[in-house]
């Protein structure tokens, strides 16, 4: 009897958690296809995939509020890819140096890359806005990229650092002892061994850029409309399009994170968006 009671309590918990976790996502999906959804109906009366078609530029519509997200999507991709390239080009050497060398003032350097996780970042964006306004970077694509690099760099350094730390130094030393230069030892030994970790870190930086909202909001508005900002600006009056964009952002985040989660420390994944 006791066992049956326990089992049913467990099942009830499962159903409850399932409903709470899945409910908001279902709401998002229903809104993305709801053509007619008049209160107090629990479900939309008429559904259509037109909003998806319009948002993805497959269909042009003159309906009020219809947005094409193709340009925002292209811009977001462009910014994300550039961010990954630049942030990783800076992060990989730093992560490697922190892992392999005994650095005087090393603690201060570590401290520097931990600060953004310990303090709220919004006041930083506000002050960067002031600086960028003075030098003409506010409201420009390079300005937004710099913000995304800032957000991604910290994770990039930490993840690559952890990756290089996990490679025993004896491997590179062996290569050096048979005459390889420091660069060749790195290029031929450490880099291939670190490749999965570096790839995960690049994917992570890509996602932080794709989903970045707060910094872009301050630096980019009103000229730079990335996907998250288009989501925000249609959210007020156009639930359908906002929901379509939200789902388009949701899918890659969940898929990629499931792919790379094993390589990541738990605390990184909480810092997104």
């Amino acid at each position: 009897m006791n066992r049956i009671l326990k089992k049913s309590a467990e099942l009830a918990l499962l159903v409850l958690v399932f409903l709470i976790v899945i409910g908001p996502m279902v709401s998002l999906f229903l809104w993305s296809i709801a053509q007619k959804w008049y209160w107090p109906h629990p479900l939309p009366q008429t559904i259509t995939f037109d909003y998806w078609a319009q948002a993805l530029g497959l269909k042009t519509s003159l309906a009020i509020g219809a947005v094409s997200i193709v340009s925002a999507f292209t811009l977001s991709l462009l910014i994300a890819v550039s961010t990954v390239v630049i942030a990783m080009a800076i992060a990989v050497p730093a992560g490697y140096a922190l892992a392999k060398y005994k650095i005087p003032f090393g603690t201060i350097v570590l401290f520097l890359f931990l600060l953004p996780n310990a303090f709220p970042q919004q006041p930083i964006f506000v002050n960067i806005l002031q600086i960028f306004t003075r030098i003409g970077l506010a409201g420009t694509v390079p300005g937004v990229m710099l913000i995304h690099i800032l957000v991604g760099l910290v994770y990039g350094v930490w993840i690559t650092n952890a990756t290089f730390r996990s490679i025993p130094p004896s491997m590179e030393e062996a290569a050096r002892s048979v005459g390889a230069t420091a660069f060749k030892a790195f290029y031929k030994i450490s880099l291939p061994l670190a490749a999965p970790g570096l790839f995960s870190s690049a994917v992570f930086v890509f996602l932080t850029s794709l989903d970045e909202f707060t910094g872009t909001f301050f630096i980019g508005l009103p000229f730079i409309n990335t996907l998250p900002l288009t989501l925000y600006s249609s959210s007020g009056y156009n639930m359908q399009f906002a929901s379509v964009i939200a789902l388009i952002l949701l899918v890659p985040s969940v898929l990629f994170m499931l792919l790379i989660q094993k390589v990541l420390k738990a605390e990184y994944v909480g810092g997104m968006g």
Partner: protein, 288 residues
């Protein structure tokens, strides 16, 4: 180009880590340290003169919002702590198909970015949103008077939805390190389950519970998207929303920075704990 560069480096006997670290460190100094220091200095300046006027304005206009932010943060950190520890204990002690399914479901919210969570909650928690209509179908809510959730309650629902699974990920990881023999030993001397949990499991996993709570706490204080899209400019709202209003509507960077410094002060203890524990961890890895 390369050979010339390396010769120049060789002549000055520059240690190799300097050129490797320089770009990243220089970037952080320009894009993080400078704005950080500037935010503190600017909060004490009015028209380039030292003044406390910004803080006076914060006190006059926003003290309710500071209390609100603090209340939301404390409530959600406590809620997350209690619920996440309960689920983590459950996942540690019960390994069957139901708990495996549950832990899979729990992974989803962690990976969904805040901007998407905000839009979800915006539609889900609306007066005529899915939650209210679903509860009405069950007869719990009268749709003439739907639950108003664009406030403390809804904000907490959104934070809990996102942060509890994240905390479970960290705390459960800690519980998995505890060997079964401890639980069996406690059981063999006659300890009941609740006291095993409270006297053995939780104390042994104290450090990961604290780390999870520290991260959740500082994240909630700094989150802009969710309160902005859920509550916006209504009173009371969070500091992050006030900062955005100060900047966007008034171009008033002084008061925005004073509010920013208030949020720094709120995370001072958690930030100190986080930095200290991370640096200690890094040092141990180097020496070990």
């Amino acid at each position: 180009m390369t050979s010339k560069g390396s010769r120049a480096l060789g002549e000055r006997k520059l240690p190799p880590y300097i050129p490797l670290l320089f770009p990243a460190v220089a970037f952080m100094v320009l894009m993080y340290v400078w704005p950080f220091i500037s935010s503190v200095i600017q909060s004490f300046l009015v028209e380039d003169q030292p003044s406390l006027a910004n803080y006076v304005k914060v006190w006059e206009l926003y003290r309710k919002d500071i209390v609100f932010t603090f209340a939301v943060t404390l409530f959600n950190t406590a809620l997350t702590g209690v619920v996440a520890v309960m689920f983590s204990v459950y996942f540690r002690l019960r390994q069957n198909r139901i708990s495996a399914l549950l832990s899979a479901i729990f992974k989803l919210p962690i990976f969904i970015p805040f901007v998407v969570v905000s839009q979800m909650m915006n539609s889900f928690l609306a007066p005529h949103g899915l939650l209210n209509t679903a509860l009405a179908q069950l007869g719990i809510v009268n749709l003439e008077k739907p639950l108003q959730l664009f406030n403390f309650t809804g904000l907490s629902f959104g934070f809990a939805w996102k942060q509890i699974p994240f905390a479970v990920l960290i705390i459960h990881g800690g519980f998995q390190m505890i060997d079964n023999s401890y639980i069996e030993a406690a059981r063999s001397v006659g300890a009941k389950m609740p006291s095993i949990i409270l006297r053995v499991l939780v104390p042994m996993n104290k450090s990961s519970i604290i780390v999870a709570l520290v991260l959740v706490y500082s994240q909630i204080i700094g989150t802009f998207t969710l309160p902005y899209m859920l509550i916006g400019g209504k009173v009371p709202t969070t500091i992050t929303v006030d900062i955005a209003h100060r900047v966007n509507y008034f171009r008033d960077f002084g008061v925005a920075n004073a509010l920013g410094v208030c949020s720094y002060i709120m995370v001072l203890f958690t930030a100190a704990y986080y930095l200290r524990s991370k640096i200690r961890e890094a040092r141990q890895e180097v020496s070990g």
